[in-house]
């Protein structure tokens, strides 16, 4: 019998090699981009292949179908890019990352901090691994447990999960953040980079929750990977006023990841896509594809196993995914242009109005809750160390500068994500019933939701800093 460590190394290596291959087939040409994009793509292939096979009644063969698809992707990419050393280097680096991730759990014998959410996710993954009836859990377990993450964990050895997946997602997330900074930043010299990166790394390694997230079994870092990929490609597209096929693919994969990992993901996806789909130059079909990547994948999840929202909307059976499909098409119609072109301000105004209403009607309770969140974020209770103190001070300092459009767009998206997280938490806690912003401690769900966007906060900070230095250099010259 294969040892669990070897099994995990082989599975994770195949997962990443197939993803990197897919990324190269889509047009990626660097390991920095291909590894995070590849992991996202591999997870979505797992979701799609399992869903289709499960739907036609052969769920027990889903691992085999995933395997065949993964090998086919590798074969296609190695045939097409046989002479491209960058491809082979990326695959090699991906395989090394996979091996490191497996060793971090099975090799060193380490597990994430115990939490009941993690056990729920492992339980769902166990059910998926045994190809159990997904309807069992529909409506009975919290939608918060997600779909894509437990589905991929289920590729682990029989009776347990793919433990190395969680550290591997984290590695991919770190690479995605570096890719975003490299793609969006003006060029700086080594001394200037050190001037920002050394203190930044100090903040990050002294932030306990960011270290816990390496092993912590939950969908937060997978969501963060999707958010980071999608936001970066959105900002690149808006900056260049053109949407390349590769960036379209990155956005679609990122949004699909977010929408199948967290229940509020589909709303996050809308906030992230808003600045791009409200551009006048983008084609109507690209708008539809982007919206479809979020709504279609969300519809698939809801249809296959968690009917919470379809039940709420009374859109039973196939009606919900069909509604998602139709919705994606309608968004691109000329009829909705007025609305589409004003998505960002409308989203900001809408969410602010919701917050104002809820705070006005529940002032006392929510004031107490805000204080709890302040303690979580700034006073160490949520294990965020000095992270948010650094982010807020930097945002204030950089906000006073006249920086270019990429930074401003990143800042706007950051604000959208912050307000969106708070609104999502209020919805989760009963927006019009008994709204709550959570509790003291790292396990509070809003406290953990900041993990979805911390990468964007870091990117925004570094790009702002790099632009301020770059502008200063221009003025001096």
């Amino acid at each position: 019998m294969t040892s669990p460590l070897l099994f995990e190394i082989l599975t994770l290596a195949l997962l990443l090699a197939s993803g990197v291959s897919g990324a190269f087939l889509l047009g990626a040409r660097s390991a920095l981009q291909a590894i995070p994009l590849g992991l996202g793509l591999a997870v979505m292939w797992r979701v799609l292949s399992h869903s289709v096979i499960y739907f036609i009644g052969f769920g027990e063969h889903s691992r085999l179908v995933w395997l065949i698809g993964a090998i086919a992707l590798i074969a296609a990419a190695s045939f097409k890019h046989f002479r491209l050393s960058g491809y082979w280097l990326s695959v090699l680096l991906g395989v090394i990352a996979a091996a490191i991730a497996a060793v971090l759990t099975r090799g060193f014998g380490l597990r994430g901090i115990p939490h009941s959410d993690s056990l729920w996710i492992l339980t769902l993954s166990d059910l998926m691994q045994r190809s159990g009836d997904m309807e069992i859990v529909g409506g009975r377990t919290a939608i918060k447990r997600g779909f894509a993450y437990p589905m991929t964990l289920a590729l682990g050895p029989e009776g347990s999960s793919l433990t190395g997946l969680t550290p591997l997602i984290y590695i991919a997330l770190v690479l995605a953040i570096i890719w975003a900074i490299a793609s969006l930043s003006p060029s700086l010299d080594a001394r200037q980079w050190a001037w920002i990166l050394v203190p930044l790394v100090l903040v990050l390694i002294t932030t306990p929750i960011l270290l816990r997230a390496v092993w912590y079994v939950n969908g937060h870092t997978l969501t963060a990977l999707g958010v980071t990929l999608a936001v970066t490609a959105v900002v690149l597209a808006v900056r260049d006023a053109t949407l390349t096929r590769l960036n379209l693919a990155v956005i679609m994969i990122g949004l699909a990841l977010i929408s199948t990992t967290r229940p509020e993901g589909v709303a996050f996806a809308a906030l992230i896509a808003a600045p791009l789909i409200s551009e006048r130059w983008i084609s109507r079909w690209d708008v539809r594809w982007i919206v479809f990547s979020a709504l279609g994948s969300f519809g698939l999840w809801m249809y296959l196993y968690d009917g919470y929202i379809p039940n709420l909307l009374r859109l039973y059976d196939e009606r919900f995914p069909i509604a998602m499909l139709i919705g994606s098409f309608l968004v691109g119609l000329k009829l909705f242009d007025w609305f589409r072109f004003r998505l960002v301000p409308l989203a900001l105004i809408g969410m602010t109005a919701i917050l104002a209403f809820v705070f006005a009607t529940n002032f006392v309770t929510l004031t107490d809750d805000v204080w709890l969140q302040v303690q979580n974020m700034f006073f160490g209770e949520g294990f965020w160390g000095g992270f948010f103190i650094a982010i807020v001070i930097s945002a204030v300092v950089l906000g006073l500068q006249k920086l270019d459009s990429s930074y401003r767009l990143l800042a706007v998206i950051s604000v959208l994500l912050v307000i969106g997280s708070i609104v999502a938490k209020l919805l989760d806690g009963g927006l019009f019933g008994d709204p709550t912003l959570g509790r003291l401690g790292w396990t509070d769900s809003l406290n953990r939701m900041w993990l979805h966007s911390f990468g964007i906060f870091i990117i925004t900070l570094v790009i702002g800093f790099a632009q301020s230095i770059s502008q200063k250099a221009k003025v001096s010259a």
């Binding site: 597990r111 492992l122 903040v203």
Partner: protein, 169 residues
């Protein structure tokens, strides 16, 4: 005033050093002790809803009864988890009230797990649940839910429960 190019790194440095010196340094992982099985992790971590995976890992087939959770003085045996782990659960009747038998000590020796669980005691949301069986339990096991103390429930192997004086209708 210092320019942003200096203020931002200084702010980061102070935040990082402040975090290092002032804030708690909790564990960031736990040793797995070679245990990556979902059921065993539930057992090890005293998961509040862990009864189903623990029982499924221990026995080939599990049948439990008296786990109606819709009435006062009952506890929550999660339906989804029960079905995920293939446990045959009869939710018709609530736990048998055997507080008069004073079984707390008698079950202690054979208690395999005891953890917090949601319950429907008026004015009380959390109780404890013990999982109890002895060496004579079959691999196809039948357990019944009992109310042992005011806030202590137990799932006890049926033969063992009868030998302790519990009468089952």
């Amino acid at each position: 005033m210092l320019p942003a190019s200096k203020l931002v790194p200084i702010a980061l440095l102070i935040s990082g050093l402040g975090s290092l010196l002032l804030f708690p340094r909790p564990d960031i992982f736990v040793p797995a002790n070679d245990n990556f099985s979902t059921a065993q992790i539930a057992l090890e971590e005293h998961w509040i809803k862990g009864a189903a995976p623990i029982l499924a890992a221990e026995f080939d087939a599990v049948k439990i009864s008296y786990v109606n959770k819709e009435v006062d003085y009952s506890f929550v045996f999660d339906i989804a988890l029960g079905q995920i782990y293939g446990i045959d659960a009869d939710y018709t009747l609530p736990p048998l009230d055997v507080r008069g038998l004073n079984l707390s000590e008698a079950i202690a020796a054979n208690t395999k797990e005891r953890s917090e669980i949601f319950c429907n005691n008026p004015g009380e949301k959390y109780c404890e649940l013990a999982l109890v069986w002895d060496a004579s339990a079959d691999k196809d096991v039948e357990l019944i839910a009992l109310r042992i103390e005011d806030s202590l429930y137990a799932l006890v192997e049926q033969g063992l429960a009868i030998s302790l004086g519990v009468t089952i209708d």
